[in-house]
Amino acid sequence: MDTFSKRKYIVAGIMLGIAAIFILRLFTIQITNKTYKQFATRNVLRKIITFPARGFIYDRHKEMMVYNKAAYDLWVVPREVKPFDTTELCRIIQIERQDFRNALNKAKQYSRFKPSIIVGQISPEINAPLQEKLYKYPGFFTQSRTLREYPSKSAAQVLGYVGEVNQQMIEKDKYYRSGDYIGVTGLEKAYEKELRGIKGVTKSMVDVHNRIKGKYNEGLEDTTAILGQNLLTGLDAEVQAYAELLMTNKRGAIVAIEPATGEILLMVSAPSYDPNLLVGRQRSTNYGTLVGDSVNKPMWNRAGIGTFPPGSTFKLVNALIALQEHAVSPFDRFSCSGQSSSPIKCTHSHVSPLAMREGIRESCNSYFWNLFRNVINHSSTSAEGYEVWRNHVMNFGFGQKVGVELSSEVKGNIPQVTYYDKYFGQKKWNAMTIRSLSIGQGEIEVTPLQLANMAATIANRGYYITPHLVKAIQDTNRVYRELEYEKKVTGINPEYFDIVIEGMQAVIDETRLSQSVHMDSIVVCGKTGTVQNPHGADHSAFVAFAPKNNPKIAIAVFIQNAGFGATYAAPIAGLIMEKYLNDSIPPRKKDLERRMIETDLMNVIQVKK
């Protein structure tokens, strides 16, 4: 007799009830709720990035200016490390024991399973002995990476440098991840997208300790890295290095352009630095030193961001505007009373009166004052006359970024009518008020690059091609893709250039420059400038192009505190043109060359005479 027999239903009911709850629960987590599937994928998926080699940078003769050299990072997986001879390892990789210990502890704190870099950027010379001994250090392994190498050690500010991305850059461009490298300045920055290539991604499955267990989705979603593209620049590495040599112990900038194409042949900013300093293990120390040098500012690219009044070199533009506006004819003569000239005295001694060719040759201030006044007064009001003048000046590329690839380039300054209206009051100013502009002084400010572009424009008789550093990009199939650059016309009738160029030839052939700049077989045209410096010794400026017909090079040289343009800027420009056009310096200029290299203008007393 079993009175509790019915209780079997309750016991069975409890069991079936629990089972039903389980099935309901499983239904929700396995079918209704989709988030567990996402979590699962996130759990196992690790993206492993393969970095493509960064593109090379060539000069115009396809000489290597920037390439990659191998370096090695020493990694550690703390969990796999067994006791080892720390002293020996530190000796091989040339690092202090304490630094090594700190790095190892940091790696342990980060993760015992995930690899961390313990010593970065080991040179191949150190890597070779390390590889032989690495078997003795389980848990350590090396991985190669590439570093930039600059064989000619020149053009530092133009080429720029690469550095690790910061948080801002990562947020701006999703391509980058922490630890990636990016071009920070110069061409490295301007052509970052072409140079970097495209990272490859390998999706792997990993276990809970981040150990790789196999390919994800059979590797179907993997991508291979695509190499960076090479840049073919218009730079001439040899002449660039020569120009930098000439600028030893001087402050200033040199830009040379091939007039027909707008290709920048060289771009020097002095003082400079060896770009190799910003590579490798010493990078951060060197970077601090370079940035901290507030006197020499070696990281500055003065060619693109240094501005100054163009001085007498600007007289060429004024002459061309006057001719175009029929404000003067090439044969109009103006008299000069030398030091007693009014309103601008003329410091040059020469015959008087003189016409345009001689005016340019003698750089006569009185002549150009009269010429400028005629331009301004050619219109019914001074403001209108000024506006006409300003438009012409702007057409030469002044007062705006000329459009070189360097993002640091500045506009310079050609003041607007409103500036003078505000400063002097409307209609309260005239040619007399702004007379400094006639000789390239006053409010106007230009960059060495703009000045070189002016020389190129004159060489071209009226137009320029946007100055640029890179002429072609070599894609992954090794095919060069030529880049197109805009042609800009000044609006000055080409025939007016002849008389100005005659004057420029006279500057070289009929003054003392016939010794230092004149070439035996090539006709050189140029113009000096002495930029008044209220803070100390005057700056020395010079623009030129050669040969006179079918010019191959247009150049602007600007040297701070170097006095007359004819003293340093012109000879240096002459030597550079000689080097570029003839590939060698004739024996008669060897003395001059040595003097230019040896002259130290860094410590000229910075006080007004």
């Binding site: 079936l16 567990y36 699962a40």
Partner: protein, 475 residues
């Protein structure tokens, strides 16, 4: 009419089939859980899956051995078997080997045996023997005392050996006693105490009292079907709570909120207790008694846990309930386990295609968390199949137990069914976040010889007893 003399003809082949199916599915899933490219063969005996195959054959051997044993043997030697294994259990601290912090294993050659696993079967035999004896009366003090001793002695011993998971399995014998006539109130209170205890430990006393109070109002409303009284009770409770809340607000939160709710609970239930005594409403008085008892129990558990216990004792309880044992913070393992099961979807990722279990995101994937592999690789279909197999086995066992005329066989059958059920409920409940993380294996699925053999022994003793159902009258 089955042949009474041929035991093979009388054994329940449905039970045996489910048993074999479970072991096979378990083996396949162990292979998938710890699958290793370097050891691809499922017959590689250096790996868990290879070894499990050996354990399975050994288990089948044990099953055959049991079937060939005279069924009278188990009845006659029920108490000696209990005593021998109990003694073995006592010896464990002396001759045992420690694994994973629990010194509960005895090493014999290359084999590790866990006496606590076999204690379940031995205790089942002893309970069956005692309940089926002539002078047994469920509600006599002597009988209850003896039964308690049979069950609690091994529980205490196992608990002392740090194997808390195995110890609490013995609690499930309450269900067996219930079937044999124990008052249902005991079951209810045991359930209530366990619930309040776990709730207090896992959440805290404050929230537990809230839950108890709301449940109390709900139960009262359901019984009385009069919302008015329940609302009055709620009103009193709420206003006391609010008064305290305001005082606390004025004192800028210096009072522990546990005190407000405790006072609210005591004051409101005190008022209603007097009310029920005056109006002689017995049911209400009982309800209030249970409510107040639970509240006070929760508070004292909280107090004892935090103020009287030592840190190592607290750690033990936390570990048992899976509160602090997670290295990655609370719920990490359960979360990974749910991710594994949940990512399986309806039909699963396919055999050997699971990633969460294979790549160690789920801990103990071949033993305690083997159900994750089933969920990940075979999906909802696989998990319901496994649950279905368990329910099939358990229902079959209850059916078999009930058809036996022998009381010994019936009680033993219930013991088997409830032990398997408890493992099933805790193990699977743990993997899907419905039960605390208590490390006990899933019968016939989890990797390991000791547990497989002890479950086989447990089950086949009953299969043998059941095969004898026509000869045994009663005991």
């Amino acid at each position: 009419m089955p042949n009474r003399n041929n035991v093979w003809a009388n054994i329940d082949w449905i039970t045996v089939s489910i048993y074999l199916a479970m072991m096979f599915i378990g083996w396949i899933n162990i292979y998938a859980a710890v699958y290793n490219e370097e050891h691809k063969s499922i017959f590689d005996f250096s790996q868990q899956y290879g070894k499990q195959l050996i354990w399975i054959f050994a288990a089948i051997f044990i099953a055959v051995l049991m079937i060939n044993t005279d069924s009278k043997f188990f009845v006659t030697f029920a108490i000696p078997i209990y005593v021998i294994i109990f003694v073995l259990l006592m010896l464990v601290p002396l001759i045992g080997t420690e694994i994973n912090g629990a010194k509960s294993w005895i090493q014999i050659g290359n084999f590790l045996l866990q006496p606590s696993e076999f204690m379940k079967m031995a205790t089942s035999l002893a309970i069956a023997r005692y309940i089926s004896s002539y002078n047994f009366k469920m509600h006599s003090y002597k009988s209850l005392l003896t039964l308690s001793a049979i069950i609690l002695l091994p529980v205490g011993l196992i608990f002392l050996q740090n194997d808390t998971g195995s110890a609490i399995v013995f609690g499930v014998f309450l269900l067996v006693l219930y079937r044999e006539g124990l008052n249902g109130i005991v079951l209810f209170f045991a359930f209530l105490i366990a619930l309040v205890f776990i709730l207090t430990m896992v959440v805290d006393s404050y929230i537990t009292i809230w839950i108890l109070s709301l449940t109390g109002f709900l139960v009262h409303f359901l019984i009385r079907r009069k919302s008015k009284k329940s609302l009055v009770a709620m009103g009193i409770f709420g206003s006391v709570y609010l008064i305290f809340w305001l005082i606390n607000f004025l004192l800028q939160g210096t009072i522990d909120p546990l005190y407000f709710i405790l006072t609210a609970a005591v004051v409101s239930s005190g008022i209603f207790y007097i009310y029920s005594l005056v109006l002689r409403k017995k049911n209400l008085a009982i309800l209030i008694g249970i409510y107040l008892g639970s509240v006070l129990f929760s508070v004292s558990v909280d107090y004892v846990f935090h103020n009287i216990m030592e840190q190592h004792q607290r750690d033990r309880i936390n570990e048992l309930l899976g509160i602090q044992s997670d290295v990655h913070g609370a719920g990490y393992h359960v979360n990974q386990s749910k991710i594994a099961i949940g990512s399986g979807g309806f039909i699963g990722k396919g055999f050997l295609q699971g990633t969460q279990t294979k790549f160690d995101f789920v801990p103990e994937q071949s033993t305690d968390f083997i159900f994750c592999t089933v969920g990940e690789e075979w999906g909802f279909l696989g998990t319901t199949l496994v649950i279905g197999l368990f329910m099939g086995l358990l229902m079959r066992l209850i059916f078999l137990a009930e058809r036996n005329r022998s009381k010994f066989s019936r009680v033993y059958g219930y013991c088997v069914a409830t032990i398997l059920f408890f493992h099933f409920a805790i193990n699977i409940g743990m993997t899907i976040g419905l039960a605390p993380v208590i490390g006990i294996p899933l019968p016939f699925f989890s990797y390991g010889g000791s547990s497989l053999w002890s479950f086989t022994l447990l089950l086949f003793v009953f299969v043998r007893l059941d095969a004898n159902r026509f000869e045994q009258l009663s005991y």
